[in-house]
């Protein structure tokens, strides 16, 4: 097992993990630049662009912590660089640990056991990397076609454009309705947290609207998360 961890933390794995992370960060910067360029032409102000960037960044702080907590549990099993690479792209930690378990089982051993040798580690890497690439391949191949279909629908008329906005908004609300209710059925503390953070959001948004406080709108999700956690701490 110790030998395997030496392989898992070796230079080759580090180099590839670093390169993958570089691609992800490069892509984010490139797309921000493209969007900032297009924003002017569709009539967005510089202030709005900054506000969007700031809000996105603030909103990512809470989830990033939650993601890292789960990621930490993978380090003893997969090593630092592979964990970084799997969580840094596509992976969600719970799914990655399922994949790692299945890969080890396919080799006929268990993660962290004495039978977990170089070949077993290689099998786990194959399973995770092939499995994770599925999303990327589909997205790389299909996004252009999906955008063509969407354009066909929206180009038809003003009315179908309006319908498209309704569909998009409904889809977004539905995604969060589903995510929130999946959490709410976990117990009383979870219900309380959802309600608290919803109420905080409503309070801060109406305050921001009333007094024209843009910074409050940018921080409202961050404050809602903190308020939810605060109440949840006592309910747990």
């Amino acid at each position: 097992m110790e030998d395997v961890m030496r392989l898992a933390n070796s230079g080759v794995v580090w180099i590839i993990a670093t390169l993958v992370l570089t691609v992800v960060i490069f892509q984010a910067i490139k797309f921000i630049m493209l969007a900032a360029g297009a924003s002017k032409e569709i009539g967005m102000s510089r202030g709005e662009v900054h506000s969007a960037l700031k809000t996105g960044a603030i909103a990512a702080i809470g989830p990033s912590f939650a993601i890292i907590i789960v990621a930490i549990s993978l380090i003893p099993l997969l090593g630092d660089p592979l964990t970084l690479m799997r969580i840094g792209i596509i992976g969600s930690a719970p799914i990655e640990s399922v994949g790692a378990t299945l890969g080890a089982e396919a080799y006929g051993t268990e993660l962290g056991s004495s039978g977990f040798n170089y070949q077993a580690f290689t099998t786990v890497v194959w399973t995770l990397c092939l499995g994770g690439v599925g999303w990327l391949v589909f997205t790389a191949l299909a996004t252009k076609s999906m955008s063509r279909v969407e354009k066909k629908v929206t180009n038809k008329s003003e009315k179908s454009k309006k319908t498209m906005t309704i569909i998009t908004t409904a889809a977004m609300v539905a995604a969060f309705g589903n995510l929130a209710s999946a959490e709410m059925i976990k117990g009383f503390a979870y219900v309380l947290v959802v309600i608290t953070s919803s109420l905080t959001m409503i309070l801060f948004t109406s305050l921001a609207n009333k007094h024209q406080l843009n910074w409050l709108r940018e921080w409202s999700l961050g404050f809602s998360i903190i308020a939810g956690l605060f109440v949840g701490y006592f309910a747990l």
Binding site: I42, E105, T122, A175
Partner: protein
Amino acid sequence: MGINQERVVNEERSTSAQEAAMENFHGKAHFWGRLTLWSAIILTLSLPVILSFVLGYHPGWSVILAGFIAYASIVAAVWVLEPIMYFPVLGVSGTYISFLTGNIGNMCLPSAAAAQHAVGAEPGTKKGEITATLGIGAASIVNKLFLIPIILGGSVLISTIPENIQRIFPLVLPAIFGGVLAQFAIKKPIYGVIALAVGLLVNLTSLVVYLKMLLCIMLTIVICVLLEKRRAGE
């Protein structure tokens, strides 16, 4: 009258200029999106190839296939469903960034929604898409800025956080989802109520997770579209 006509012409020109700008933006997004995705795919797959054939730890194709099939039987449907399901929300550029950076439900979508909320942009519009791209892009970078030092510093930092604080980490997700749901409920209260009702109903069934999401989105869309149609008819 003359002024009015001029204004109409100007407005038409500006919308067509906006269309052209978006067209141009989408073209670039497709190019860079595909380039970065394929680079990530090749890099990712090069790791097991090197372990197998350069370092000589090949476990045999039948073993690899067994592991892959076991894993794919759980996630293969999600490879296709997720990108399609989220496309109307994320748009072209949002899809490319979100699926490379991962953590869509818990990070990318909330960031996109919060950014749109701050700027006052509707999802599904040009401004909505650009705003979502900016929000998700910033979120992706922040996520990596947190992830890299913490993993490099090992779990040392996390172990210094007291246990009673660590207990509340599972509550981060319901706190995010509750807050974002309320953002929409302020603008479209009825959508929020419908989505939550459908969500609770669907989550009491024993469907697989991704089918729950799909069902929830489809049902909410149908109900909302019918509702708006009835309103427009009245």
